[in-house]
């Protein structure tokens, strides 16, 4: 059985290594489009955490939901206390993310990213949606 503390340390190291690798790839060019989507030097706060934790798998890169079980998160996320409860002790299908794998600090950054997502574009500006 894997030692819990060792596991935690390894996890943190992996996160750090992952971040370093991601940032290294970002520094090489303005925008990178890989499995983890599009990242850039000016990605908003918390975006890398959102991507790295895989939130986008169910909720989309803009928190718009990808259908299925992942509900829409943004724009206009639910208040932080409710958000934290859903992440730590989810009442529905979402897995529980404890502070051991998702720190409070990181969770706040992810929330900040969701808050930064601009309001839904006006559909009248999008011909395919406005019916023009």
């Amino acid at each position: 059985m894997r030692n819990k503390n060792l596991s935690f340390v390894s996890g943190v190291l992996l996160v750090l290594l992952g971040c370093m690798a991601l940032m290294a790839s970002v520094s090489g060019q303005d925008k990178v489009l890989d499995f983890n989507g599009e990242v850039s030097n000016d990605s908003p706060t918390g975006y890398l955490d959102y991507v790295e934790m895989g939130c986008w798998q169910c909720h989309g890169f803009q928190g718009q939901s990808t259908g299925g079980d992942g509900p829409k998160l943004a724009p206009g996320p639910i208040p932080y206390p409710a958000f934290e409860i859903v992440v730590r002790r989810p009442p529905v299908v979402m897995p529980a993310y404890s502070p051991n794998v998702l720190s409070d600090e990181k969770l706040r950054r992810i929330y900040a990213y969701l808050q930064s997502i601009p309001a839904t574009p006006d559909v009248s500006d999008i011909p395919l949606l406005s019916g023009e």
Binding site: Q57, G60, S65, P95, N100, T120
Partner: protein, 640 residues
């Protein structure tokens, strides 16, 4: 016994027919009317040459040593022709070489036409997709051993999805007659045993007369709801034996009338629905054909009851009674489930936690009615059913043919007050429908310009390209923002694989597109990347047989569902998966270039497209290729 030249005269009542359901007026009448007669074909060049006797330069003894006058497999093909089987999809194999030659040479490669497949799973999935558009089965032919093993996954999906399929499996029973080598390793005592758990019936004919009767029986079993695959073993010796032109009479074929539910039980169901304040209809594999869809619309309108579907085209999505969501179920006092094998899943919710718990999502006093043929379709080993759901009324019968009787009872029982109640319900659902369209539009706008391309953007760019055509979405997946498409034809969506066996979409889309080709329809498939990699050779089959279809790759570069499963496991175990969740689940280093892959199979392609603004023009160019009668693929890097 009759000679081959006279055999067609001996055919009794007409041939097999399409699987379009009996009309709402009279199932029996429609079944009788649906019978078609087959005209006799003139003798082929091969037939004439062999019946001229001993070839020049040979003695009679030499001719008997080297040549056959009339092959057993010719008769096998003649029997197929009486059933109007249009196609045999196959990856060729020596265990059915005689059969193949009889199809292509003796039979003129027409009705049935031999479709060249690069893998038996492709053949099976093509047959599966074809049946859902053509409403009649496509045959497949494969080695009884190595071929059937390849085909097994495709057959399993068809079984789960209630799709008819005629499987011909080549085998050599007579051991002293086998050639050394492959005819031994490609023979088995009971080759169909491998797939018997997920087919409806099979037989090993030992004579041509036995073959004819068994194929008729097999076809009847496959196409009688609940439908499914059947298998006939083609013995090598039987295929290659010389009949000397003397063959058994071909039995007449009459399609079976599908079984409908008990009329008294349907009357009781109608009473419950009419008395309900908030009746809800849940449609599983309810509408097998366009008639089924019309029947369901009539029932829903009679009750003004909302209908929630399962991905198959049961109900037009531009109808205000097309509704969904858990809220619908929470308020329901009577729920009618049509051909649902997942009733429990629908009225309960299970949480994927360490200790799995479930909760009801319906009222405690809700009345549940089940109408369908699922109870007739259960086997023990492969459990294509879900948890047992207790219901208040369980009616066994084909939903599609039972619906007219149910609607008639509903209309008869509707009083003035129940009609007024129904009218008020209808007004409420009209308003909710309008709101759902507006909400779908708003939600689709989020991430509109994202890279990777959002699924809503992908979906609506495709819709923009196909909406002016007579189109058919053949991927088996419901597009994102499908609320914003107009889906009101049965062929607008063919439903999923049934068994969730990955690898179905690409070849099934080719089979469905082949069936659409006869109607001049534009076939489009939103093709998942992982699925496309199981049997990508299906692209070549489409190119080779000039099957027009537009594949738009939903290329998210991995098995995202599996990524999420790993994340769930790692979170549960307090480890956090982070980058590790990609291991085993992601196609990177290198990325897979589907446009190049398609080109290699002779398919026009574009991509990979990463900028959503490039998508519309690329789709337009590819659609022009499809309009010209060829397949085309547009690879798009998408969000999961």
């Amino acid at each position: 016994m009759t000679s081959r030249r006279n055999f067609l005269k001996s055919i009794g009542v007409g041939a097999a027919t399409s699987l379009v359901a009996p009309t709402k007026v009279s199932a029996q009448t429609a079944a009788a009317e649906a019978g078609k007669s087959v005209s006799a074909l003139p003798p082929s060049h091969y037939e004439e040459s062999m019946e001229m006797g001993v070839p020049e330069g040979y003695t009679e003894a030499q001719a008997k040593h080297y040549f056959v006058q009339s092959a057993g497999s010719d008769y096998m093909v003649d029997v197929m022709k009486t059933l109007d089987i249009d196609y045999v999809a196959s990856n060729p194999g020596s265990s059915f070489r005689g059969f193949q030659e009889s199809i292509t040479v003796y039979g003129g490669n027409r009705k049935p036409e031999f479709l060249t497949c690069l893998h038996e799973e492709t053949a099976a999935a093509m047959s599966h997709g074809y049946a859902k558009i053509a409403y009649q089965p496509m045959a497949i032919a494969c080695h009884g051993t190595v071929g059937l093993q390849h085909a097994a996954m495709g057959i399993y999906n068809a079984w789960c999805d209630h799709a008819p399929m005629i499987i011909f499996a080549g085998n050599h029973m007579e051991a002293t007659d086998r050639r050394p080598g492959a005819e031994w390793s490609h023979s088995a005592l009971d080759c169909v045993k491998l797939v018997r758990d997920f087919i409806k019936w099979d037989d090993i004919p030992l004579s041509l007369g036995h073959y004819a009767e068994s194929l008729m029986r097999a076809y009847k079993i496959a196409t009688t709801p609940p439908m499914g695959p059947v298998a006939i073993v083609l013995d090598g010796h039987l295929q290659e034996q010389d009949t000397h032109g003397v063959v058994p009479k071909i039995p007449a074929y009459t399609p079976s009338v599908p079984p409908h539910g008990d009329l008294a039980a349907l009357r009781a169901a109608a009473q419950l629905l009419v008395d309900a304040e908030n009746p809800v209809i849940l449609a599983g594999r309810a509408a097998r054909t366009p008639v089924g869809m019309e029947n369901l619309v009539e029932l829903a309108e009679a009750l003004q009851a909302p209908v929630s579907g399962d991905g198959r085209m049961n109900f037009p999505n531009n109808h205000y009674l097309n509704q969904g969501g858990r809220g619908l179920l929470r308020q329901a006092d009577v729920i009618l489930g049509l051909e649902k094998n997942d009733f429990w899943n629908t009225v309960n919710s299970m949480r994927d936690l360490v200790h799995r718990t479930s909760t009801k999502v319906v009222r405690d006093d809700v009345k549940l009615i089940s109408l369908g043929s699922e109870d007739l379709f259960i086997k023990s080993n492969y459990q294509n059913f879900q948890r047992f759901q207790s219901v208040d009324l369980s009616i066994t019968g084909d939903a599609e043919v039972s619906l007219p009787y149910l609607t008639e009872e509903v209309n008869r029982l509707m009083s003035r007050s129940s009609r007024a109640k129904a009218k008020a319900r209808g007004e409420k659902y009209r308003e909710q429908y309008k709101q759902s369209i507006e909400q779908a539009r708003q939600e689709a706008a989020i991430g509109w310009n994202d890279r990777p391309v959002s699924l809503d953007r992908l979906s609506l760019e495709i819709w923009n390209e196909v909406k002016g055509r007579d189109w058919s979405e053949v991927s088996g997946r419901s597009p994102a923002s499908s609320r914003l498409w107009t889906m009101d034809r049965h062929y607008h969506q063919i439903g999923g694989s049934g068994g969730a066996g990955v690898g179905y979409n690409l070849p099934a889309s080719v089979g469905a597109a082949l069936a659409n080709r006869e109607h001049g329809r534009f076939s489009v498939a939103i093709q998942p990347d992982g699925d496309a990699l199981y049997a990508p050779g299906a692209m070549w089959t489409a190119a080779h047989h000039r099957i027009p279809i537009l594949w738009v790759m939903h290329n998210n570069r991995g098995y995202h569902q599996e990524v999420m499963h790993l994340q769930r496991m790692a979170s549960r175990r307090q480890r956090g998966a982070d980058g590790d969740a990609k291991i085993g689940n992601v196609f990177e280093d290198p990325f897979i270039n589907f446009a190049t892959l398609a080109q290699g199979f002779g398919v026009y392609s574009e991509g990979p497209i990463t900028d959503p603004d490039d998508l519309g023009p690329a789709l337009q160019r590819a659609a022009a290729v499809v309009d010209g009668g060829h397949p085309a693929l547009v690879d798009v890097i998408c969000q999961p």
